[in-house]
């Protein structure tokens, strides 16, 4: 985090200096018009004599106004450039870091939470930077330059008018504290309400099936009312704030009227200076409302800064190992020796003393109940979680010694969550790698039994799916995902429960294509269905993290243990009815 700030500062230090200089000039220019108008008013008392002087002053006024305009644009542009550049750099850096964080470290963070790092926290810090560059600098210069100019007219009058301004600044800071407190509450209630709305629209069928409409509405009204009351509190405090600022300035003007007039009558200041003084007071309008905002922005930005710092502190994966084995494709002799595993910070043993050997060209079937550790085992094979040395070997190499990029490039792991990006089907299969031609992609969809459906779409493999495009059914998604394996043609291919939404016919043909694909390669098929694993060279039955059985379909059936129990359960009814 600190590094990001440093790099941005280093790269854009000149701009930061530029901002400071332009603000100084801008504020100085801002004080001039009031002064000139004041002078003109004084000169007006003898028009005939001062005509030329007045004309000159008028010209000066216009020139200064124009200069003000130009300096202001430059300054605003510099501020925007710096803050937005900072935002972009921070976002890019955070994203880059996020991509490398170890899976174990991000798994416990909710998706919404991760998103809020990118959206809310970065915006908060950018907002603070903006306030510093755009407002704090202005407050600084206005206080110095305006006070100095005012003092040059009359010091007592300056003190008399600045006094209420200081008091009001303190009052606004206090009021702002209440606004802030209530605002945070309001936001919480709003989120609460939004979540409720989202849930109820998703749940509409269930609600209707149980005639729960009225109840849902009552609960909504309750939440809505709390939100309303909280919003009203925020509004009231905000109104109070702007009213107190307005009263403060009224008081300042009243003081100038009474005290300033006395000074005019005593010939200490001129009428023009009296008028100009009112103009200077106007300059404080902005700062008085900015200061409390900066203070609370700072508090929020501090929280966001710490949150981001914590994210940046999460350990990254080391994709490259200098001494590591980095052949482009690793051949697939897999050997797992006495592997015991529990997730970091979790005492439950997920895998208990697992030993497996898969030879190149073999297919392993894994079957087991939910939570038996099947997916965890695969996650470890890809080193998505840290794993002790001496447990998993590929080609006699400890996988800790293989660099991550080549390890993962050698394995096609098709997961069960069939996640798709909202982009074209092509990009979803090639996963944005550009070295695959359309024909290869089409060929892979052919093998995964989805080509027919894709051909029927108007844009073929260029059809955009997901949020920005068309919706695919669960079965279609699964087959698109499976196409990745046919395209990538890795030496090790894993299917983790990826056939569940397919009908029997499609599944059968697909399994045949897979058999063709994995000839000479190492393959692991995980499933709950006997039909998916029965042809494997070796089948492992996992239960509560342990291998309880191991063998071919035939030997396992003969053993009469868990596997044959599964088999019987899956076919018992058919057997019964056939016997009938």
């Amino acid at each position: 985090m600190k590094e990001v700030i440093k790099t941005v500062l280093k790269k854009r230090l000149i701009i930061a200096v530029g901002i400071f200089v332009t603000v100084g000039i801008y504020i100085y220019l801002l004080t001039l018009p009031s002064k000139i108008i004041g002078t003109i008013i004084d000169l007006l008392s003898n028009i005939a004599q001062n005509k030329e002087l007045i004309t000159e002053k008028i010209k000066l006024l216009l020139i200064i106004t124009l200069l003000c305009l130009i300096v202001r644009i430059i300054w605003r542009y510099l501020v925007a450039y710096t803050t937005r550049f900072f935002e972009k750099t921070l976002k890019d850096k955070l994203f880059g870091h996020f991509l490398k964080i170890k899976l174990a470290n991000i798994q416990n963070i909710k998706n919404g939470e991760l998103m809020s790092y990118f959206v809310r926290d970065i915006a908060e810090i950018r907002g603070f930077l903006y306030r510093i560059l755009a407002q704090a600098t202005r407050i600084f210069f206005i206080t110095i330059i305006a006070t100095y100019t005012m003092k040059s007219i009359n010091i007592k009058l300056t003190i008399a008018t600045l006094f209420p301004i200081i008091i009001t600044t303190i009052v606004t800071i206090i009021l702002k504290k209440h606004i802030e407190k209530n605002f945070i509450k309001s936001q919480k209630y709003f989120t609460n309400l939004s979540e409720y709305v989202q849930e109820s629209t998703d749940a509409i069928r269930t609600t209707k099936a149980y005639s729960g409409e009225e109840n849902q509405f009552k609960k909504f009204v309750k939440r809505n009312k709390i939100l309303k009351q909280s919003n009203i509190a925020v509004d009231t405090y905000s109104t109070l704030l702007s009213i107190s600022v307005s009263v403060c300035f009224g008081l300042c003007y009243a003081i100038t009227i009474i005290y300033g007039s006395k000074l005019v009558l005593n010939n200490i200041i001129t009428i023009g200076e009296f008028v100009a003084f009112n103009g200077y007071i106007d300059l404080f309008h902005g700062p008085i409302s900015w200061l409390p905002r900066i203070i609370y922005n700072f508090k929020r930005a501090q929280i966001s800064y710490n949150r981001l710092n914590n994210v940046f502190a999460l350990e990254e994966e080391h994709l490259k190992i200098t001494a590591g084995h980095s052949a482009n494709q690793i051949k697939g002799n897999i050997c797992i020796k006495n592997l015991t595993f529990n997730y970091p910070g979790n005492l439950d043993c997920i895998l208990d003393n697992i030993s497996i050997e898969i030879k190149e060209g073999e297919t392993l079937g894994i079957i087991g109940t939910i939570g038996s550790g099947k997916t965890t085992l695969m996650n470890l094979l890809l080193r998505l979680y840290p794993i002790p040395k001496g447990k998993i070997f590929i080609n006699n190499q400890d996988i800790n010694n293989i660099d991550l990029t080549s390890l993962r490039n050698s394995i096609s792991y098709i997961t069960q969550d069939n996640f798709l990006f909202s982009t074209t089907i092509k990009d979803n299969i090639s996963l944005f790698k550009e070295n695959f031609g359309d024909e290869e992609i089409k060929d892979s969809t052919e093998k995964s039994m989805i080509s027919g459906e894709i051909r029927n779409m108007s844009e073929g493999i260029y059809t955009v799916i997901g949020e920005r495009g068309i919706d695919l059914s669960g079965g279609q998604k699964q087959r698109v995902v499976i196409s990745r394996a046919f395209l990538k043609k890795s030496n090790i291919i894993i299917f983790d429960d990826t056939f569940s939404a397919l009908d029997n016919k499609t599944e059968k043909s697909l399994l045949n294509n897979i058999k063709e694909l994995v000839k000479g390669k190492t393959c692991i098929i995980i499933s709950n269905r006997i039909s998916d694993v029965k042809d494997a060279d070796n089948i492992i039955v996992l239960d509560a993290g342990q291998i309880v059985e191991q063998g071919t379909h035939q030997t396992l059936l003969k053993n009469g243990n868990l596997y044959s129990k599964f088999y019987n359960q899956q076919s018992s009814m058919e057997n019964d009815s056939i016997l009938n």
């Binding site: 108008i37 008013i41 028009i47 008028i58 216009l62 106004t65 003000c68 305009l69 202001r72 644009i73 605003r76 937005r84 976002k91 890019d92 994203f95 991509l99 490398k100 998706n111 990118f118 309400l193 939004s194 109820s200 629209t201 998703d202 509409i204 269930t206 209707k208 149980y210 005639s211 729960g212 809505n224 309303k228 009203i232 509004d235 009231t236 109104t239 109070l240 009263v247 009224g250 009474i258 007039s261 006395k262 109940t369 993962r408 490039n409 792991y413 997961t415 069960q416 996640f419 949020e467 599944e507 709950n528 039909s531 088999y567 076919s571 018992s572 058919e574 019964d576 009815s577 009938n580």
Partner: protein, 580 residues
């Protein structure tokens, strides 16, 4: 069209007319007080300072100073009152509108929810409603106030000098044109930025969701490039706004000083026979300065009004569609259901003439169980959605215990039908609340239902048992566990007719056995309709109805259908073969 919009606005404002009138009258007073302030200063300059005296017959500078202060205090007090009233009104409107839309979405039928994406409804209830509230909070009252203050300033200026005022007003059209042009340009930039930001955020959200996939397929580099491209797009889209934002106040000051220049130049040269007092210069300068603010605000407000009207129309376009609203009370009440269900020549289409069901007829006798079998899109799910009147049929009749279901009231009808959906919806509430939903059911009965549904083992494993709060949409539970909970719901509510849409998601054999147990208990007691995906589920039903393309192609018991060697037999055999 215009008329319709007006009626809609009136509908929202109707209950707040009194507040609007009160606040409008107050605004006139506040404006008058505001306008009198520069006039007081003018009196001091012209009648006292220029003459070098501090007392006249009734007045003195001190008295005017105190009057000034009193005006400030009264004005601000009135302003505080008016603004608080307005804010409360705005929040009330917000509250009422949210309630209205939410109620509509709850009472609208399923066809409505099919056509309206949940995201759209969400935006209506959250964002669009906010637009309307800003119409009430900011516009309705300030609009009038600003118009009055613009007119007031113009009148007072003309009162002092008609010719001079006309000269000063030359700049007003420029102010208006610039304001409109800049607002338009800025809005274009903001809209553009918004769409780029949406793209960026969608990308980030997706990457977070697909973090594991990105690691597995090593596409960190591709994703990083995409991220940097999108953040650059956002940077490029947003930056130009800084120039226009900087330009706007600068230009306004320029116009202001131009007007002042014109006044001074004309009066010192005695052109058009104009000469002026010093105090009048002050008052003209002050009024010109305070003239621009309301003009710009009126232009901004026009924008807000337009946005609000769009939002109002969007919201009312939904609210005015009364045809989607369901009437739960209309019709006979229903008790003591025997459970005989008949479909007589039923035709149904979601959209006109696109028949999903064609002339469907069948009868289920009390206590019988039927299974619907067929490909995706054959009409199985549609049939189950007709029984509880999620949709109404176009031709034919559906009879429950010999009476057309359209004659019963929907609330009673739905209470007697229990449905277990493929992916049952779990609210983010406790297990207990998820089972009882909106009915009062004792803890004892809930525990009994959980036991009957064989969900006790799963529920007991939760650290808080039936008081465990589920994550959003039951994300913490597997598909099988969600179905078990849905069965517990059925046992707790004890409907007379039971509909099951069997899960396609992979459920492990153990859980599947538990589900099967529940199904057996329920189908033994009740009239039941199954949409089966596993043939093992349906071999024991009384009757199997095979659907194809909205028509019944086969009908009979399992053994009968096997013997007839048709579509069903083919389906059955292929499944059995796949088991080996």
């Amino acid at each position: 069209m215009k008329n319709k919009t007006f009626r809609r606005c009136y509908d929202i404002a109707r209950s707040h007319i009194k507040t609007i009138i009160l606040v409008s009258i107050l605004s006139i007073f506040i404006d008058l007080l505001e306008l009198s302030k520069p006039y007081l200063v003018k009196i001091i300059i012209d009648d006292f300072l220029s003459l070098g005296i501090d007392k006249k017959i009734f007045l003195s500078i001190n008295i005017i100073g105190i009057i000034y202060l009193i005006i400030v205090l009264i004005g601000n007090a009135l302003d505080f009152f008016a603004r608080t009233k307005t804010n409360i009104m705005g929040e009330e409107v917000l509250y009422e509108m949210r309630n209205k839309i939410y109620k509509y979405t709850q009472n609208a039928n399923i066809s409505f929810h099919d056509k309206t994406p949940a995201g759209k409804l969400f935006v209506r209830i959250t964002n669009d409603v906010e637009d309307i509230s800003s119409l009430f909070k900011d516009v309705i009252t300030t609009f009038l106030k600003d118009i009055i203050s613009i007119l007031g300033i113009i009148i007072v200026m003309i009162y002092f000098s008609l010719k001079l005022s006309l000269l000063a007003f030359i700049v007003i059209p420029f102010v208006i044109i610039t304001s409109i042009l800049l607002t338009k340009t800025l809005n274009k930039i903001y809209d553009n930025t918004k769409s780029v930001r949406t793209k960026l955020n969608t990308f980030l959200a997706e990457s977070i969701y697909g973090a594991k996939l990105i690691k597995i397929f090593n596409i960190q580099k591709e994703k990083q490039n995409e991220c940097e491209k999108l953040t650059q797009d956002f940077f490029d889209a947003r930056l130009p706004s800084a120039i226009y934002e900087g330009l706007f106040p600068g230009l306004m000051t320029l116009f202001e000083n131009l007007a002042i220049t014109v006044i001074i130049v004309v009066s010192i040269n005695n052109w058009f026979g104009i000469s002026i007092e010093i105090g009048a210069v002050y008052i003209f300068v002050s009024y010109i300065k305070s003239l621009f603010e309301p003009i710009n605000r009126v232009i901004d407000n026009i924008e807000i009004v337009q946005e609000a009207i769009v939002s109002i129309n969007k919201i009312y376009d939904i609210l005015d569609k009364k045809e989607y609203l369901e009437d739960f009370e209309k019709g006979k009440s229903l008790s003591n259901v025997k459970g005989k269900l008949e479909f007589k020549n039923v035709w149904f289409a979601y959209t006109k003439d696109n028949w999903i069901l064609k002339n469907i007829s069948f009868t289920i006798n009390p206590g019988e169980t039927i299974a619907l079998v067929g490909k995706t899109g054959s009409g199985k799910t549609t049939i189950t959605n007709l029984v509880n009147r999620f949709y109404d049929i176009q031709k034919g009749e559906i009879l429950l215990d010999g009476i057309n279901i359209k004659e019963y009231n929907k609330r009673d009808l739905r209470q007697h039908i229990g449905t277990v959906l493929q992916d049952p919806f779990i609210f983010s509430r406790t297990i207990k609340d998820n089972i009882k939903l909106n009915k009062k059911i004792s803890n004892k009965d809930i525990l009994k239902s959980i036991e009957l549904a064989s969900a006790n083992e799963f529920v007991n494993s939760l650290s808080n048992g039936i008081n465990e709060v589920s994550k959003e949409r039951g994300e913490s539970y597997s598909a099988g566990q969600k179905q078990l909970l849905a069965f517990a719901r059925i046992f707790a509510h004890n409907p007379d007719i039971f509909i099951l849409d069997e899960a396609t998601a992979n459920i492990d054999t153990y859980t599947e056995n538990l589900i099967q147990k529940s199904i057996n208990i329920l189908s033994a007691q009740k009239t039941a309709i199954f949409i089966a995906h596993r043939l093992s589920t349906i071999v024991n039903v009384d009757k199997i109805i095979v659907l194809d393309n909205g028509e019944i192609v086969e009908e009979g018991s399992h053994n009968e259908l096997l013997k007839s060697n048709g579509y069903y037999a083919k389906l059955y055999n292929s499944y059995y073969e796949s088991l080996g």
